[in-house]
């Protein structure tokens, strides 16, 4: 079998999912199963004075901090979130204890009778309040060039400020986990992206030896980052419950509970000072990035890192001063979400350039093109753009496809067209890939090859794509490649399924292993090949100074959005969305087009209709009746193309693709709206409520 790798093949998981045959965690039977439900804080910030329990019937249990054998903290980047609240609660929805038992209704009724006596304290409710109180979790700085001198010598100084809101993942399958002991070994099953993250957390919380914990990923109905670190918390909770009850314990969230207490995209505020020279070129930027991390820092430091390392987007800015901070507020913790901090900063930077261009009377896309990075240019952190940049080819294609230059000149009032240029750093930030040092294994047995990775299928097509890479390299049939169950007892740790790293990094390792296996194919009936990741040695990164190559390579893209605003109601219609992407070489065109369309839809949602607000620390939109994500009726016609730009270290030349499309859509839509109304758009989401206000201002 030697075919074009980009040519689409059927997804291996599609048939069963379409037929409704696939089993998710909630469908899996266990013998003598107990169900768990969580008692949650109803206060934004309080000391817990006392907890009054009703009489607990036989066979029912209350599980709390005192039952945790090891550390009562969830292990992640900053291990600060308690598994169960200790003496205080820091946000509405924080888990305090579990009620566990055989009958769900009884569990629910017991829970409803528990009374918690709180001593309320003054909470920090908003990013503004947190900034004024200097409630800083993480504080990062980096400079490039000589920003001081550049600002002193500037011809023009321009300031601008941007803000973006929460976003909920709305994976189809809410969070769910189950745990059981078989002998002295703990088995945890559930919906997740990162089985080894969950395992790491369980080892610490359960105080068990490495070989006594196994984590098994069950079919995961979507994740988008929402099942990166968060499932570790539920995993630990059901594990503690299973230890105490000596029975299997399952906890499945309903939608409301999931929205209320699972992580969200970080709300942000981003401030810019730009120094322009006599040619109106931006020579220096001073950027202040503020993220609302919520009540616990958790994964937020690395989200902030990607945010501030993506902040100059596709542009070459010689002098930089970048300040990034995560703030603590008494609200639900923010966490991983497709794009991982970059959508916020890239939105800010795209609109900052757009606003300056409009102010200067220069066509925005032309103005942006004047600042484009080229091969061998320094990145914002003083690394290099090592590979060829095909932005001009992308630009030419997208402006032709969309008729951009025609339409920008001749749009009637309330019609607009806008463009965004963007990139995404492939794989982990900084030293991430080196630290994880991902491992994979291929095992040959007779004519079959078993592929062992901890990278999960979660609806994105990883299983098909990884099998395809191995099959095409070995030149054997897809059916001969078996994807091993994602069970930490059976597969090596190839790293978490995040950071758009699966195809490029894990797929790259698989291709290397497959090449070796191909050479040795006739050596024996059965043997195995193992590979570990090595960062290409020309890449350098200093984690203290934030200096060097924050990413090995970038994927690039451009979007054009055409919109129309109803002059009476200010409802926004996105009519067309064009995308041209450089993701190296597409491994499977249909799968990739799905990623692009989905990413655009999700980006449009964040940019326009996904409103999530809080009042006194309480989320206002807590169900899908009032938190709306786009349906087919809200998504525009999309025209998507790829240009080829093979990457030496990626499988078949592939780079990253999963997060890239999310990043591009919001600024394209915002630019189009700005074009239609002739007003700056500095806030997301762009609701009709806001547009009416903006258009009324004169």
């Amino acid at each position: 079998m030697k075919e074009n790798i980009s040519q689409s093949i059927p997804r291996s998981d599609a048939k069963a999912k379409l037929r409704g045959e696939t089993k998710y965690i909630a469908d899996i039977p266990f013998d003598k199963l107990l169900y768990a439900k969580t008692l949650r804080s109803t206060k934004a910030k309080a000391k817990i004075r006392s907890i009054l329990l009703p009489k607990i019937p036989d066979g029912y249990f209350v599980i709390d901090q005192h039952d945790v054998p090891g550390k009562n903290r969830m292990r992640t980047v900053v291990s600060d979130h308690p598994i169960f609240a200790q003496d205080d609660v820091q946000y509405i929805g924080q888990p305090i204890l579990l009620v566990v038992g055989e009958d769900r209704e009884t569990v629910y009724n017991i829970l409803a009778q528990i009374q918690v006596e709180y001593e309320e304290e003054r909470p920090l409710l908003t990013l503004e309040e947190a900034e004024n109180s200097s409630a800083v979790f993480t504080d990062y700085h980096y400079d490039k060039g000589n920003p001081c001198a550049a600002f002193q010598n500037a011809k023009t100084l321009i300031e601008d400020e941007f803000a973006t809101g929460y976003q909920e993942h709305v994976y189809l399958e809410p969070n769910g986990m189950a745990a059981e002991f078989k002998g002295d070994t703990l088995f945890v099953y559930g919906s997740m992206q990162c089985p080894f993250y969950a395992k790491g957390a369980l080892l610490e919380t359960m105080d068990l030896a490495d070989d006594k914990v196994r984590v098994i990923q069950t079919t995961t109905g979507g994740a988008f980052g929402g099942k990166e670190e968060f499932p570790s918390l539920i995993a630990c909770q059901v594990a503690v419950a299973s230890l105490k009850t000596q029975k299997p314990v399952m906890m499945i969230y309903d939608r409301m509970e999931d929205i209320l207490c699972s992580t969200k995209r970080h709300p942000s505020k981003i401030r810019y000072k730009a120094a322009l020279d006599e040619n109106q070129q931006i020579v220096a930027l001073d950027i202040d990035v503020l993220f609302n991390a919520g009540a616990y820092n958790g994964l937020s430091p690395v989200v902030l890192q990607r945010g501030i390392f993506s902040v100059t987007n596709v542009y070459h800015i010689p002098h930089l001063r970048v300040h990034g901070r995560n703030f603590m507020t008494n609200s639900v913790p923010s966490g991983a979400y497709r794009g991982f901090g970059a959508p916020q900063t890239i939105f800010g930077t795209e609109m900052m350039l757009y606003n300056i261009a409009v102010k200067l009377g220069i066509e925005p896309l032309d103005y942006k093109a004047r600042h484009l990075l080229k091969r061998n240019d320094p990145t914002c952190t003083g690394g290099r753009i090592h590979d060829e940049v095909k932005m001009f080819e992308i630009l030419e294609k997208i402006t032709q496809m969309s008729g951009y230059y025609e339409k920008i000149k001749h749009s009637p009032k309330y019609h607009g067209i806008g463009a965004s240029l963007f990139l995404h750093g492939c794989g982990f930030t900084g030293k991430g890939e080196t630290v994880i040092n991902g491992a994979i294994q291929l095992t040959k047995k007779n004519q079959e090859v078993t592929l062992k990775v901890s990278s999960v299928e979660m609806g994105q097509g990883a299983e098909t794509v990884l099998r395809k890479i191995v099959a095409y390299t070995l030149e054997i049939q897809m059916e001969q490649i078996i994807f091993e169950k994602t069970d930490t007892g059976l597969v090596p740790d190839s790293g978490p399924t995040v950071a758009s790293r699966t195809t490029m990094i894990v797929g790259g390792l698989l291709q290397q292993a497959a090449l070796e296996m191909k050479e040795r194919w006739h050596e024996a009936e059965s043997f195995e090949v193992t590979r570990r990741y090595n960062h290409p040695d020309f890449l350098h990164w200093d984690d203290q100074k934030f200096h060097g190559d924050a990413y090995p390579v970038y994927s690039w893209g451009a979007n054009v959005a055409e919109i129309e605003i109803d002059p009476v109601t200010y409802e926004l219609t996105i009519k067309n969305l064009y995308g041209v992407y450089d993701v190296g070489v597409p491994i499977d065109l249909r799968s990739l087009e799905g990623q692009m369309q989905g990413g655009i839809a999700q980006g449009i949602g964040w940019a326009t209709i996904e409103v999530m607000e809080t009042s006194q620390g309480r989320l206002i939109q807590t169900n899908l009746t009032n938190y709306k994500i786009p349906t087919a009726m809200d998504v525009p016609e999309m025209e998507i193309e790829f240009i080829s730009n093979p990457y030496e270290f990626g499988p078949f030349g592939a780079k990253c693709a999963g997060e890239l499309p999310f990043v591009g859509a919001p600024p394209a839509v915002a630019a189009a709206v700005s074009h239609a109304l002739k007003k700056p758009i500095n806030h997301l989401p762009i609701r009709p409520e806001k547009l009416m206000e903006i258009d009324n201002e004169n």
Binding site: Y108, E257, P630
Partner: protein, 281 residues
Amino acid sequence: MVNAFHPETLSKALEILAENPCTIMAGGTDLMAQKARGFAIRPVFEHPLLFINHIDELKQISLEDNEIHIGACATLSELLESQLIADTFKDVIRQMASPPIRNLATIGGNICNASPAADTLPYLYALDAQVEIQSQTGLRTLPIREFIKAPKTNGLQNNELLTHIVLPNKEFDINFYRKLGQRRGMSLTKASFHGLANVTNGSVTDLCLALGSVAPTIVRCELTEQLLIGQSFINIEEILPTVLNKYSEIIKPIDDARSTAKYRKEVSIRLIKNFLLGLGK
């Protein structure tokens, strides 16, 4: 345990109601959402359930004396399929919920639930629909606006059922309906406007305006409509400020998870203005 009745006929249903207070379950699309307690946990009802959505007499749609009689348990999908229902009304219904929900949801449920965001109501107000209410002791008829008392409150006694909705069989020259939701499909209304008018020779001969989701109940003001009826398009432009002021007084929206009071008010006024100024075009 849930106690439930499943009568085969309307008279049997009324008999049950006469004997016990019941929770009436039609399509259940409002009721089950209101009573949801959590994943895989049964809802709890104070009273026994009385299922009515299978009762034939309550599902008929007929034309009598130039009036459309709609059984309370006709589903939204059945209304869309009926030849007797005006396209104007179908326009409204097509923008409600989604096909699976419309297959269950009944018009009676939409009315009885008495939500300010119930989408059939602006049209029913605009047409001065009557509702028929039955108990074992008899039948009474109320104009829709008297039936709806307040959000979530209707004019039914414990022993009564809403059985029919009666509409005049008419269409208007001009029909303009606009539902604003957080998104285009499967979305509850944050504000809606229904304008219906007849025009002859440059003036308005009949007109009704109804607004949804911008006050505790549907907004309709006959007094102001009377001011407009009989006027030429040019005159309408002149009295427009007076008309809009009047509506401004009676539109009393709230801030909630879906929208803001400010937007709801302004968009309503803009929709009225847009409609009235568009009459001549």
